[in-house]
C-alpha cells in the first residue's frame, strides 16, 4: 500500500495551456507539457535553494558560457534580420514608386513637381527615398539584401542548434550527477531514515523531483537565456528605428504582463484545485476498487457511487473553470497586440508620410513589436516553472543533507576466526528518546547456541536484530562478538558474520540464480545449486520451465510465499555465515512447503549461533535462551524450564500459544 504513490503518480498541479501563444516549434514532445504544469508547491527557502542549484551547475560553467555566447549570437542575428527585410521592402517600394515616375527625370525634379502641386506630404516621403525615376525594382540589390537575410537566418539557426546541442549535454550531466549523488547518499543513510520516511516519499525525491529539475534545465534554461537576450536585442532595434514608436510599444508591456498575471493567477488557483480534486477522486476510486468485495458485502455500493458522483462533479467544476480562465489569456493578449499594432501603424504612417521613416522601417518595427511580447510572457511562465523546480531541488537537497551513519572506525578490528560468542553488556536502546525500550539488557550467547525471541504480535522482536546488525546503534552499553565491540568493527565486516532470513522475503527483479547468488559475490554455479539443494528448493526450481533462469517478477506472482522463503534460505546457505538471524513464518504457507522450510532452517542452524524470532514450539523448547518481549521491552529471559517454573508472562504465553494445541493434537 505504501507503494501507492509510486504506481499512480499524481500529475503535478498545472498552469494550463501556455499563455501568450507560442512561437512555432517550441517545446512540443514529451517535455512540452512541462510548461503546462508549473507547480503549486512552493520552496521554503527559494533563494538559498536556487543558489545551491546554481552551484550544481558550476562544473559545467565553461559549457554554459559557450551556450550563452551561442545564444547571444543566434539572437543577435535573428533580431537583425527583420531590419534587413525592411530594407528589402524598401527596395521593392522604391522600385514601385520609381516606375510610376517618368524616366529621365531626376528625383529632385519630381519632388519639386510634387511640391508645386501642393502634395507636400508625398514630396517629403519621396525625398527620403532612394528612388530612380523610371526604373523598376532593382533586383540585383534586392537579391543581395535577401541573400544577407537568408545568411542571417541560417547562421542564427546554426547557432541555435549548437546551443541546444550543448545544453542537452549540460543538463543531462547535471542530472546524472544529481542522481548519482542521491544514490550514494542513500547508501550512507542510517536505517532509521528508511524506517521513518514513507517509501513513496523517498522514491519520489529520487525520481519525480529529479525529473522535474531535468526538464527545467533542458527547456527552461535555454528558453530563459534566449528570451532575455531577445528582449534586449529587440528593444535595441526598436529604439534604433524610432524611439517614439519604441516607447509606445513599451507601454503595452506592463499592460500585457498585468493582464497575463491577473488571469494566470486565477487559473492557477483553479488548476491546483483541479489537481487536488482529481487526487481526491483517484483516491476514492482506488479505495473502492481495492475494497470492492467489502463495499459490496457491506451494502455500501450506493454510498460509494454517490460519493464518486460528488467528487466527480467537483473535478468537473474545477477543471472546466481552469480551462476556461486560462483560455482567456490568448484572446486578451491578441487584443493588446492589435492595439499596439494600430498605434504603430497610425504614428508610423504619419512619419512615413512626412518622410522621417521609411515603409520598410515601419514594417520591421511591426515585426519587432510582435517578437517582443512573446519572450516577456515566456519569461513570466518560466518564473512560474522555476518555483516548482526549486521546490523539487529543495526536496532533493533535504535528502542530501540528512545526517549520515557514523563512519566506521579508522582502524577497524577484524575478526579472524569467528567463534560466534555474542554478548549483550548492559545494553540500553530507544527508538524515540522518551520511550524506553531496552533497558540494561545483559545476555551471553555461547557459540552454537540458539536464542529464541518470543512475544505477542508487535512486541518489537526485530529490535534486537536491528541492534545486532548495527542497523541501529545502542544508546548505552555494548554488544560484543567474540569479545570485540561491534562498533569497533567495520559495518560490512560485521554484517558478513551474519546471515539473515526474514519473513519479509526480499527478492529483486532478476533470475532465480541471481537471487540466490546474492548471498555471495562471485558464487559459482555449483555453489548456487548446492545451496538450493540444501534449502530443498532445487527440485522446485527445476520444475519451472526456465529453471534457474526463471525471472522473478516485480511482485513475484509466479512464486508462492513459501517458495520465496526457501530461496532466501538458499541465499543464506550460500553466504555461509557464522551467526544466523531467522524469522519463522506465521503467514500462509502451505503444509508441504512449511515442512521443507522447517527442515532447511534446522539444517542451517546446526553449529551456528542463531537468533530466531520464533513461532514454533520446537524452536522454543530447544533454544538455550528464550527472550520474552512485550510492548517492545524484554520482560523475561531464561530457558524453557526456568521460565515455565517462574509462571510469568512466558508461562501464560506458552500455555495459550503452544501447549493446549500440542496436547489436544496428540
Amino acid at each position: 500500500m505504501s507503494d501507492k504513490t509510486e504506481q499512480t503518480p499524481m500529475p503535478r498541479p498545472g498552469f494550463g495551456p501556455r499563455p501568450g501563444g507560442s512561437g512555432p516549434g517550441r517545446g512540443f514532445g514529451p517535455g512540452g507539457g512541462h510548461f503546462m504544469m508549473g507547480s503549486g508547491a512552493k520552496a521554503r527557502d527559494f533563494k538559498g535553494s536556487l543558489k545551491r542549484l546554481g552551484t550544481m551547475l558550476k562544473p559545467q560553467a565553461l559549457r554554459i558560457a559557450i551556450v550563452i555566447v551561442l545564444a547571444a549570437a543566434s539572437v543577435a542575428l535573428s533580431v537583425a534580420a527583420p531590419k534587413v527585410i525592411g530594407k528589402a521592402t524598401n527596395v521593392i517600394f522604391e522600385g514601385v514608386v520609381g516606375k510610376q515616375m517618368p524616366a529621365g527625370v531626376d528625383k529632385a525634379q519630381v519632388v519639386q513637381m510634387l511640391r508645386a502641386k501642393g502634395q507636400d506630404r508625398l514630396a517629403d516621403m519621396l525625398s527620403a527615398m532612394d528612388v530612380k525615376p523610371g526604373q523598376g525594382i532593382d533586383f540585383d540589390r534586392l537579391g543581395r539584401v535577401l541573400a544577407t537575410v537568408a545568411a542571417l537566418y541560417l547562421l542564427s539557426a546554426l547557432f541555435q542548434w549548437g546551443q541546444g546541442y550543448l545544453m542537452a549535454g549540460v543538463s543531462q550531466r547535471v542530472v546524472y550527477d544529481m542522481r548519482a549523488r542521491v544514490d550514494e547518499k542513500l547508501a550512507r543513510l542510517p536505517l532509521k531514515y528508511f524506517d521513518d520516511h514513507p517509501r513513496g516519499d523517498i522514491l519520489s525525491r529520487v525520481t519525480n523531483d529529479i525529473d522535474n529539475i531535468a526538464q527545467t534545465l533542458q527547456q527552461a534554461m535555454t528558453q530563459l537565456i534566449t528570451a532575455m537576450l531577445t528582449i534586449i536585442g529587440v528593444l535595441a532595434m526598436m529604439f534604433s528605428i524610432s524611439w517614439i514608436l519604441a516607447l509606445i510599444s513599451l507601454l503595452t508591456v506592463p499592460l500585457s504582463v498585468i493582464v497575463t498575471i491577473a488571469i494566470a493567477k486565477r487559473s492557477q488557483v483553479q488548476f491546483s484545485r483541479q489537481w487536488e480534486r482529481i487526487g481526491a477522486l483517484n483516491g476514492h476510486v482506488e479505495e473502492m476498487h481495492t475494497g470492492h468485495a467489502i463495499v459490496k458485502v457491506f451494502g455500501r455500493q450506493k454510498e460509494a457511487i454517490e460519493r464518486f458522483d460528488e467528487l466527480n462533479e467537483q473535478v468537473y467544476d474545477a477543471s472546466f473553470k481552469a480551462q476556461f480562465i486560462s483560455g482567456i489569456i490568448q484572446p486578451s493578449m491578441n487584443f493588446i497586440n492589435k492595439l499596439n499594432y494600430v498605434a504603430i501603424c497610425v504614428i508610423g504612417g504619419v512619419r512615413v508620410a512626412n518622410g522621417t521613416l521609411t515603409l520598410g522601417d515601419v514594417q520591421a518595427f511591426i515585426q519587432y513589436s510582435q517578437q517582443f511580447t512573446q519572450p516577456i510572457v515566456q519569461t513570466a511562465s518560466i518564473a512560474n516553472v522555476l518555483q516548482s523546480t526549486v521546490a523539487s531541488a529543495e526536496r532533493v537537497f533535504e535528502l542530501l543533507d540528512e545526517p549520515e551513519e557514523t563512519p566506521d572506525p579508522a582502524e577497524p578490528v577484524k575478526l579472524r576466526e569467528v567463534r560466534g560468542r555474542v554478548e549483550f553488556d548492559r545494553v540500553s536502546f530507544r527508538y524515540v528518546p522518551d520511550k524506553p525500550l531496552i533497558e540494561d539488557l545483559s545476555l551471553t550467547v555461547e557459540p552454537g547456541h540458539t536464542v529464541a525471541i518470543v512475544g505477542p504480535t508487535g512486541a518489537g522482536k526485530t529490535t534486537l536484530v536491528n541492534l545486532l546488525m548495527r542497523f541501529y546503534d545502542v544508546d548505552a552499553g555494548a554488544i560484543r562478538i567474540d569479545g570485540v565491540d561491534i562498533r569497533d568493527m567495520a559495518r560490512d565486516d560485521l554484517r558478513r558474520v551474519f546471515g539473515m532470513v526474514l519473513q519479509d522475503t526480499w527478492l529483486f527483479g532478476g533470475t532465480i540464480r541471481e537471487n540466490i547468488a546474492y548471498g555471495k559475490e562471485g558464487a559459482t554455479e555449483e555453489e548456487i545449486i548446492a545451496a538450493a539443494e540444501a534449502a530443498h528448493v532445487d527440485h522446485f526450481v527445476r520444475t519451472l520451465p526456465d529453471g534457474y533462469d526463471t525471472r522473478i517478477d516485480d511482485d513475484a506472482a509466479n512464486i508462492s510465499q513459501g517458495e520465496r522463503q526457501l530461496l532466501t534460505i538458499a541465499r543464506a546457505f550460500l553466504a555461509d555465515p557464522e551467526i544466523l538471524i531467522l524469522d519463522e513464518a506465521t503467514s500462509s504457507v502451505d503444509t508441504r512447503t512449511e515442512v521443507l522450510i522447517q527442515r532447511a532452517m534446522a539444517k542451517l542452524m546446526k553449529n551456528r549461533t542463531s537468533f530466531v524470532i520464533a513461532h514454533r514450539l520446537s524452536t522454543v523448547r530447544n533454544a538455550e535462551t528464550i527472550i520474552v518481549m512485550d510492548n517492545g521491552r524484554i520482560v523475561e529471559q531464561g530457558n524453557h524450564e526456568e521460565l515455565m517454573a517462574r509462571g510469568g508472562f512466558y508461562h501464560d504465553l506458552y500455555v495459550s500459544q503452544f501447549e493446549r494445541a500440542y496436547e489436544e493434537a496428540i
Binding site: L154, L186, H292, A661
Partner: protein
C-alpha cells in the same frame, strides 16, 4: 474511439455552437492580414492618416469580436470536454461497481484505476483540443490557402514546395523521436525499479553487504537513461532550428519572387505583406495540426482501454425474478459445487457438498491452492458456481437479489482492507446507525478494544487509506470487529487470523464463539489450532473434499488432515 462518441451526444448543441464559433474565428483571423494590407497600401503608402485610423479602428473592432468569439468558444468547448470526461468517468466507475470478482481480477485493480483516471484524462484532453485547435487549424490552413490564392495564384505555388518539405522534416523527427520516447520511459521505469528495490530491501542489502553491487546497478541504469535522454534532447535541439529555417527562408523566397510580381504590376506591395501573413498562418496551422494529430493514436489506445471496461458484461447478475424468501436464517449449503475459471484446464473446485447451520462453526482447511478461498467466495457470489449450487437459507444464491444476500453475510477477507476515515467510520461500514456501545462491544470481542483505547482519539482516530497506519494484526482485528458490528446471520472468515499471534488468536476465538452462538460461522484457516474446536472441519485437497468431521474424527480417518496437523504441531520429530 467512436464508441466513446456517444458520450458527446448530449452536448451536440454546444458542439455545433463551438464549431460555428471556430469557423467565425478562423474567418476573422484570415481577414486581419487583409486589413493590414489595406493599411499599408492605402494608408501608410499614401500617407492617409484618416484612413489608417478608420481601418485601424475597424481592425480593433474585429479583434475584439474575435476575442469574444474565442472566449465563448473556449467556454463551451471546455465545458463540453470536461462534462464528457465526467460522464465517461462516471460510466466507468458504475461499470466496475457492477463487476464481479472475475472481471475485477481479469483487469486488475491497478489497471482499472488507471483506466478511470489517466486514460479518461487522455481522451478528455483530446476532446479539449478537438474542440479547439484540431478544428481551427485545418480551417485556418484551408482558409489561408484560399486567401493566398486570391492574392496571387502563382506565388502560392511556393506552398507546394514548403509544405511537403515541412512534412518530411516533422515526419523524420517524429519517426526518430517516438521510439526514443518509449525508450526513455522504459529506462526511467528501470531506475524507479532499482530504487524501489533498494528501499524495500535495504535491510537485506546491507545484511549481505551488497550496497556497492546495488550502486553499480543504479549507476548502469542512470548512465543508460542519461544517454538515451541525451539523444532525445539533441534531436529536439535540431528540430526547432530546422523549422525556423523553413519558416524564415519561406519569407525570403516570398519577398524575392513576390518582388517580381510587384514589378510587373500583378501585385500590390501591401498585398505582399498580406501574402506573407497568410503563408505563415498556413504553415503554423499545418504544423499545429500535425502535432495535434500525433496525440490521436495515444488517445485512441486510451479510448480502447476505456471501452473495454464499459463493454464488459458482468458475469454475475441479479435474477430477473427473485425467488421468495424461505423464512429461515443462517443456513448455508453446498450441493455438488464445482468451479472452474474460464478457459482453465482443471477445475478449482469439484463436487463439494456440505452444509452449515446456525450455531455451528464450519472450518475449511487445506494447503495453498486447494480452493479454500474460492469456495467461500461463492457464498457472496463474488463468483458464480459452474456446477451444482450454493444455497443460503435454502434458496440458490443466484435466485436472490445480491443486496439481500449480502445483507445476511459478514465477510472478513484475507487481506484486511480498511477505508480512509475514522476507526468508527470503518466499524459502522455495515451498520451506519450502530451506537458507540455496539462498536466497543465488537472491538472487545475482536480483541481490539485495548489498542483502540490506547489510540490518541479512540474511535475517532483517523485511519489512512488501506489501513496502513495500523499494524497487520490490528487491521485484521478491526476488520473482524467491522463484521461483528453488522450482526449478520452468516460469518465468513477467510484466513482472517493469520497476522495474529497464537495468544490473541486463542482469546479472540473464545470471545467469538460466544458472540456468534446463534450465527453460522465459516472459517478458512491455515493454522490447525485456529479451527480445532470447530463443529465441522472440511478438508480440501486439490479442490475436492477429502474429509469432513471433527478434529478427533479426522485425525483417525483423514490422512491429509493428519499430515497438516503433524506439520504444524510436532516438529521435533520432523526436524
Amino acid at each position: 474511439m467512436r464508441r466513446l462518441a456517444r458520450f458527446l451526444k448530449p452536448y451536440w448543441k454546444q458542439i455545433v455552437l463551438v464549431v460555428a464559433l471556430l469557423v467565425v474565428q478562423a474567418i476573422a483571423n484570415l481577414y486581419l492580414p487583409d486589413l493590414n494590407a489595406n493599411i499599408i497600401n492605402d494608408g501608410i503608402a499614401k500617407g492617409d492618416v484618416d484612413y489608417i485610423l478608420r481601418t485601424g479602428g475597424f481592425m480593433l473592432g474585429v479583434t475584439l469580436l474575435l476575442g469574444i468569439v474565442s472566449v465563448i468558444a473556449v467556454y463551451f468547448g471546455s465545458k463540453t470536454a470536461m462534462a464528457f470526461g465526467r460522464d465517461v468517468r462516471s460510466a466507468v466507475f458504475r461499470a466496475v461497481e457492477g463487476f464481479s470478482a472475475a472481471e475485477l481480477n481479469r483487469f486488475g485493480t491497478a489497471s482499472l484505476i488507471t483506466r478511470n483516471t489517466n486514460d479518461v484524462q487522455q481522451v478528455q484532453m483530446l476532446v479539449v483540443l478537438g474542440l479547439n485547435i484540431m478544428i481551427l487549424a485545418p480551417v485556418m490552413a484551408v482558409g489561408g490557402v484560399i486567401m493566398a490564392l486570391r492574392q496571387d495564384v502563382k506565388l502560392s505555388g511556393l506552398l507546394l514546395v514548403v509544405i511537403p518539405l515541412m512534412g518530411v522534416v516533422i515526419g523524420i523527427a517524429l519517426s526518430k523521436a517516438l521510439p526514443l520516447f518509449r525508450q526513455v520511459q522504459a529506462k526511467t521505469d528501470r531506475i524507479n525499479q532499482v530504487v524501489r528495490e533498494y528501499l524495500s530491501g535495504v535491510r537485506v542489502i546491507r545484511a549481505f553487504v551488497r550496497t556497492s553491487h546495488e550502486q553499480k546497478r543504479f549507476e548502469q541504469a542512470n548512465a543508460d537513461l542519461t544517454q538515451t535522454a541525451l539523444k532525445v534532447q539533441r534531436l529536439f535541439a535540431s528540430v526547432m532550428p530546422a523549422m525556423m529555417v523553413i519558416f524564415n527562408l519561406t519569407t525570403v523566397a516570398i519577398l524575392f519572387f513576390g518582388a517580381r510580381r510587384v514589378d510587373v504590376g500583378s501585385m500590390q506591395i501591401g498585398n505582399l505583406t498580406a501574402f506573407l501573413a497568410y503563408m505563415m498562418q498556413i504553415l503554423i496551422s499545418v504544423m499545429m495540426a500535425v502535432l495535434m494529430f500525433v496525440m490521436v493514436p495515444r488517445a485512441a489506445a486510451s479510448a480502447e482501454r476505456i471501452v473495454e471496461v464499459l463493454e464488459t458484461e458482468p458475469s454475475v447478475r441479479d435474477p430477473e425474478t427473485p425467488a421468495p424468501e424461505s423464512g429461515v436464517c443462517g443456513y448455508v449449503e453446498f450441493q455438488q459445487v464445482g468451479f472452474r475459471y474460464p478457459g482453465a484446464e482443471h477445475p478449482v473446485l469439484c463436487d463439494v457438498t456440505f452444509s452449515a447451520s446456525p450455531g455451528e462453526v464450519t472450518a475449511i482447511v487445506g494447503s495453498t491452492g486447494s480452493g479454500k478461498s474460492t469456495l467461500i467466495n461463492l457464498i457472496p457470489r463474488f463468483y458464480d458456481v459452474t456446477e451444482g449450487r450454493v444455497l443460503v437459507d435454502c434458496v440458490d444464491v443466484r435466485d436472490v437479489p445480491r443486496e439481500k444476500l449480502w445483507a445476511k453475510i459478514g465477510f472478513v477477507p484475507q487481506k484486511a482492507f480498511l477505508f480512509s476515515g475514522t476507526v468508527a467510520d470503518n466499524l459502522r461500514f455495515g451498520k451506519p446507525d450502530a451506537t458507540d456501545e455496539e462498536l466497543w462491544h465488537a472491538l472487545e470481542v475482536a480483541q481490539a478494544r485495548e489498542f483502540v483505547e490506547a489510540m490518541p482519539q479512540g474511535l475517532d482516530t483517523p485511519i489512512a487509506q488501506g489501513g496502513v497506519s495500523v499494524s497487520g494484526g490490528q487491521r485484521q482485528r478491526l476488520a473482524i470487529a467491522r463484521a461483528l458490528v453488522k450482526r449478520p446471520d452468516v460469518y465468513v472468515f477467510d484466513d482472517s487470523f493469520s497476522a495474529l499471534d497464537f495468544k490473541t488468536d486463542a482469546k479472540l476465538r473464545r470471545a467469538l464463539r460466544h458472540e456468534t452462538k446463534d450465527a453460522t460461522v465459516i472459517i478458512v484457516a491455515q493454522r490447525v489450532s485456529t479451527i480445532m474446536d470447530a463443529d465441522r472441519i472440511v478438508v480440501l485437497d486439490r479442490g475436492r473434499v477429502v474429509g469432513i468431521g471433527t478434529h478427533a474424527e479426522l485425525l483417525d480417518t483423514c490422512e491429509t488432515y493428519r499430515e497438516i496437523v503433524e506439520s504444524q504441531l510436532t516438529l521435533e520429530e520432523i526436524a
